[in-house]
Structure formats: structure tokens, C-alpha cells
């Protein structure tokens, strides 16, 4: 059996990143993700890596941009308000087609908000955040084990598609502890002939840049990028289905909300309500096909989120509004109780959406 250790979600991200070959971490502290930086500060000097606490979030994301351009595995981590500050850098990284891993351990917002858990950066992560036409691969872990495995996956996908992978976690998964192991993680390596590694006078110099002087060239770059995004949308959606085989109602929830929802689904089943759960693991690319297939057989959906209703828009979009979608949500650092979710399942069964 693989070696088991007891880890906090935030620590699992840091350790997984190191195992994935990341030796460059640039960050700025913010609750509730500080353990990532603390772990990196302790470990990186021992393994010849770089831990650097920058003077600001903006500085740290641009250090990530620089290191990514040099072709190394690099990451930063922050929480909601800090990610807003990094938005400009995220756009530059996307516009330069370099790979990076960015972690958002979400807290309540908007504004300075609070330090308790939240999922209210769904729009920011999946629809942009920074300016311009671009996408990020958004991975939503629901356990400490997934904090580790999706971090490694995130590095692999970033290198494969030359884009940013974002781990969209929340304060609770960042702080909670569970036993995990690392042994089965598959670390992929990719050639990076575009990287700025020094020509040594032997090759033509590489350029990493997001500035295009001619609009037609910029347009072509965007077209090319979106061709690549199409491949990601085709090949990379990940989701989990729970008790969906005979389901008449479908709860959709990701991350920590899916754990609360699973308890509610189990309780509803005990009452004889045929309900299942689809848990998107990639929020972009969204598991469109799973949702579309569910829309053909269930009577309605219930979106459970720690925000005012953000993913619900994608559920409606990708089911083409074929079925009603109810919203069960709390926000500002509050979490729906299993009882609240159960109540919305009962209501759905009565046709109340």
C-alpha cells in the first residue's frame, strides 16, 4: 500500500507541486492559503528551489510570468482579493501562451470580504478575470487527495496546452486535514523549444510576448489559441457522477459544496427520493456532455453553491434550459447545511424550483 500521510489541503498542494517538479514559488501571504507559502518556505531551500515572498501580488504573478517564459514549472497561490490583483498578469500569461499554475483558495467577497470559505470566484475563474479573450483550465478539488492530484494534473495540462491551470479551492478544503498518498501521481514532461533559455549563439532567439503591432496578427494569434481551447474542451472535461443511474433529480455541486450535497443526496435516497449528483471536477472545460445527458432524463436540477448563484448559469446554458434549475446557496463565508440541501431536494420533488 502506498504510504499515507495526514495533510492539510494547502500543504497537499505545496507538496504535490514540488513532486510535479515545481522549484519556483512566488507569492504574497493571505488567509486562508498561507500554509502553501509556509510549506514552500520550509521546503524549497532544502531542495534547491526558490521560495520568494514578493512585495505584492502583482509582483509575484509577474515573477511567475518570467519564470514560465524561461520554461520552468512555476506557481503562485493566493485567495480571492489577491487573485483580483493578479488578474493583469494572468491575462499577459495567457496572451503569451506560457504555462503556469495558479491556486485560489477562495474566501468570501466581494471586496476585502472575509476569511471564511466561499466559491464566489467561479465567474472570475471560468469567464476571465483579466482582460481579453482567454481561458484558464479550472480544477475544483473536493478532497485533500484531489488538492494533491489536481495540482499535478494542473501542471501537466498547463505544459500540454501552454496555458494557466487554476486550482479553484476554498478555505475549508485548504484548511481541513485528510489522509492522502502521492505514489500514483503521473508526472508528464514536455519539451519547451519556445522557452527563453539563452541561445548560446547556436539558435535563433525566442520571443515571449503578448504585444502585437498589427491587428491582423493579433487576430490570428487569438484564432490559434481558440483552436487549442477547442481541443481542451473536447479532451479534458472531468466530472464525478454519484447515484445518477436511476436519478430523477440531479444535484450539481463542486468542491466543498459537493461534500455537503452528497450527505443530502444519501439522506434523500433514504427517504425514497431518486436523486443523484454530478460533481464537475473541471469547471472550465465544463462537463457539458454530462449535463446535457442528464437533462434528457431528469426532471430538474439543483445547483448547490457557496455564492449567489454563478455555476447555475452554466448549468442552464449547457442543458439549454430544458429542465428547471433550483438554487441552494449560502455566501459570505457561510456554508449550506446538509439539511438545507435536503430541503431543496424535497422541494424539487414537489415541483418547486
Amino acid at each position: 500500500m502506498a504510504e499515507r500521510v495526514l495533510m492539510k489541503g494547502n500543504e497537499a498542494i505545496a507538496e504535490a507541486a514540488i513532486r510535479a517538479g515545481c522549484r519556483h514559488y512566488f507569492g504574497y501571504p493571505i488567509t486562508p492559503q498561507t500554509e502553501i507559502a509556509a510549506y514552500m518556505a520550509k521546503k524549497m531551500p532544502k531542495i534547491g528551489g526558490v521560495f520568494l515572498q514578493a512585495e505584492s501580488e502583482i509582483a509575484s504573478i509577474n515573477m511567475v510570468y518570467g519564470a514560465a517564459a524561461a520554461g520552468v514549472r512555476v506557481m503562485t497561490s493566493s485567495s480571492s482579493p489577491g487573485i483580483s490583483l493578479k488578474a493583469e498578469g494572468l491575462s499577459y500569461i495567457a496572451g503569451s501562451d506560457v504555462p503556469a499554475l495558479v491556486v485560489n483558495v477562495q474566501r468570501g467577497g466581494p471586496g476585502l470580504g472575509g476569511i471564511q470559505p466561499s466559491q464566489s470566484d467561479y465567474f472570475q475563474a471560468t469567464k476571465g478575470g483579466g482582460h481579453g479573450d482567454y481561458r484558464m483550465i479550472v480544477l475544483a478539488p473536493a478532497s485533500v487527495q484531489e488538492m494533491a492530484s489536481l495540482t499535478i494534473k494542473g501542471f501537466n495540462l498547463a505544459d500540454k496546452y501552454l496555458m494557466t491551470s487554476m486550482i479553484l479551492a476554498d478555505g475549508t478544503i485548504g484548511q481541513m486535514m485528510e489522509p492522502i498518498s502521492f505514489e500514483d501521481a503521473e508526472i508528464e514532461t514536455y519539451e519547451k523549444p519556445w522557452a527563453l533559455t539563452g541561445t548560446e549563439g547556436k539558435r535563433k532567439h525566442n520571443v515571449v510576448n503578448s504585444l502585437y503591432l498589427k491587428p491582423d496578427q493579433l487576430e490570428v494569434k487569438n484564432f490559434e489559441r481558440y483552436e487549442r481551447y477547442k481541443v481542451v474542451e473536447e479532451n479534458e472535461p472531468m466530472w464525478e457522477e454519484y447515484m445518477m443511474e436511476d436519478a430523477e433529480y440531479c444535484v450539481v455541486a463542486f468542491g466543498i459544496a459537493s461534500r455537503v450535497a452528497k450527505n443530502a443526496v444519501a439522506a434523500a435516497r433514504a427517504e425514497g427520493i431518486k436523486v443523484g449528483l454530478i460533481r464537475p471536477i473541471t469547471l472550465w472545460p465544463f462537463p457539458k456532455k454530462a449535463l446535457a445527458a442528464a437533462a434528457d432524463k431528469v426532471k430538474g436540477f439543483i445547483s448547490v453553491e457557496l455564492n449567489m448563484g454563478q455555476m447555475i448559469e452554466d448549468i442552464k446554458l449547457y442543458t439549454q434550459c430544458k429542465r428547471p434549475v433550483a438554487l441552494c446557496c449560502r455566501c459570505g463565508g457561510m456554508i449550506p447545511s446538509p439539511d438545507e440541501v435536503l430541503e431543496s431536494i424535497r422541494k424539487a420533488q414537489k415541483g418547486e424550483f
Partner: protein, 234 residues
């Protein structure tokens, strides 16, 4: 088990200090002693002593906790009331210290009074399944960092070897050589072995003394992680 007037729990973050402190406080109260527990954690934003407020109150334990615990105020401040732990000699005081050296800095201000009274036990909580204290040598390094930060030396070590819901009696038994080595390296006795109560039952006659722990149910526990796979309701 002889109880000192003050019992302090410190250690690597995530080693289980709060769970042990809460259960130890309740056990003392059950013996009829007047018990006050102080949450001196200035590091951890979530999962605090204050989460156990109800069970502590039911057991007759007085809780002193930072005014801003579990709120959105990310402010490392301790209440003036916390001085009661060291000044009121009529109570048994339990101090739950924040993780690592960073958490232990907060203890420093109480140390002169603790030393002057000289009736305390400073316990290092160790879980060998935590990644940064996988070896007794690494645990010793954390011990020394904490001692340097707060200015108080440990007097005991306590074993809290666990893998969360995957913990079995064997998990705890497997950790004994680690604890014996840590005891040898530090020159300190093993105060007790702590284990979730059903695991503790399985350690009957195999290990002693064992402190059985009642753990809080969490809203995010999965049905598969709960005894009898029962959903989280009740």
C-alpha cells in the same frame, strides 16, 4: 495520572493540539475539577477550540477564546481574560497553543508567571503521519523551534499518531518506536497516547495510558467517512 495546575499543549500545526486540549479539559472536569481552557492560537483561522463551545459548556469547562475567533477579523489578538489561566490559582488551566514556533510566540508573555508558579506540564503533541514531522529528528527540530519562540521548555510528549478516519489501533501501535525515539532524543517521558475513542478501545491492554478522544463531526465529512456510513444528520 497526576494533573498539574497548568497543562499546555503545543506542537507542529495540525498535530491535533486542539482536539487533545478539549478532550483533556473535559476529562479533568469530569473528575470534578474547576477547569478553564484557553484558546491561545493566533495562527489558525479555522477549526478552533471555540468550535467545541457547546460540549465544553455541557461539561462545565469555562472557555476563554479570542474575541475574533471564527469571525472575519484576521487579527492575532488574545483577550485580557487569558491572564486568568496563570493568575487564578484556584482553577486547572488548559492552554491550547498555536502551531509551530509562530504560534508559540503568543505564549511568551505568560511564561514568567508560569515559571514562577512552577506547577505546569508543557506537552509536545506529535503525529508521525504529518509530512513535516515524519522522523523523530524532524519533530525534535520543531520542539526546539517552539521552545526558542516561547522561552519555555517541554516537560512531556504525547502521541497523537493518526490518519484521520483511516486510523486503526495498528496505526497507533506502529507509531510507538517513533515516540520512543523522540522520547530518547528529547529526554522527555511519553505522557500518554491519544486516539479517537473507538480506536482507543482497540488499544486496551496493548498501550497505556490512552486518552480516548471524542472528535467533532464536521459538515464536510463524507458518508463513507462516518461510523456505519450514516449520513451527516441528527
Amino acid at each position: 495520572m497526576e494533573h498539574k495546575r497548568l497543562t499546555l499543549f503545543a506542537g507542529h500545526y495540525g498535530s491535533g493540539k486542539t482536539n487533545i486540549a478539549v478532550n483533556y479539559a473535559i476529562a479533568l472536569a469530569k473528575e470534578g475539577k474547576p477547569v478553564v481552557i484557553g484558546d491561545l492560537d493566533i495562527v489558525n483561522p479555522y477549526f478552533r477550540t471555540a468550535d467545541s463551545k457547546k460540549v465544553l459548556e455541557q461539561a462545565g469547562v469555562t472557555l476563554i477564546s479570542p474575541q475574533f475567533a471564527n469571525s472575519n477579523v484576521d487579527l492575532p489578538a488574545l483577550p485580557a481574560e487569558a491572564y486568568r489561566l496563570v493568575e487564578d490559582k484556584s482553577i486547572y488551566g488548559i492552554m491550547d497553543i498555536g502551531g509551530d514556533d509562530r504560534g508559540a510566540y503568543a505564549l511568551g508573555r505568560y511564561v514568567p508567571a508560569i515559571k514562577a508558579e512552577g506547577n505546569y506540564r508543557m506537552v509536545f503533541v506529535a503525529n508521525c503521519f504529518r509530512p513535516l514531522t515524519r522522523t523523530p529528528e524532524e519533530a525534535l527540530e520543531v520542539m526546539r523551534e517552539i521552545e526558542a519562540a516561547c522561552g519555555l521548555a517541554f516537560t512531556d510528549i504525547i502521541n497523537n499518531a493518526n490518519l484521520g478516519p483511516e486510523t486503526t489501533p495498528q496505526t497507533v501501535l506502529d507509531s510507538v518506536p517513533y515516540m520512543e525515539k523522540l522520547s530518547q532524543l528529547s529526554g522527555l517521558p511519553i505522557f500518554a497516547h491519544a486516539a479517537e475513542s473507538s480506536v482507543a478501545q482497540g488499544l486496551n491492554g496493548k498501550l497505556s495510558p490512552v486518552i480516548p478522544l471524542q472528535l467533532q463531526e464536521k459538515y464536510f465529512d463524507l458518508p463513507s467517512q462516518r461510523p456505519g456510513n450514516r449520513p451527516l444528520f441528527g
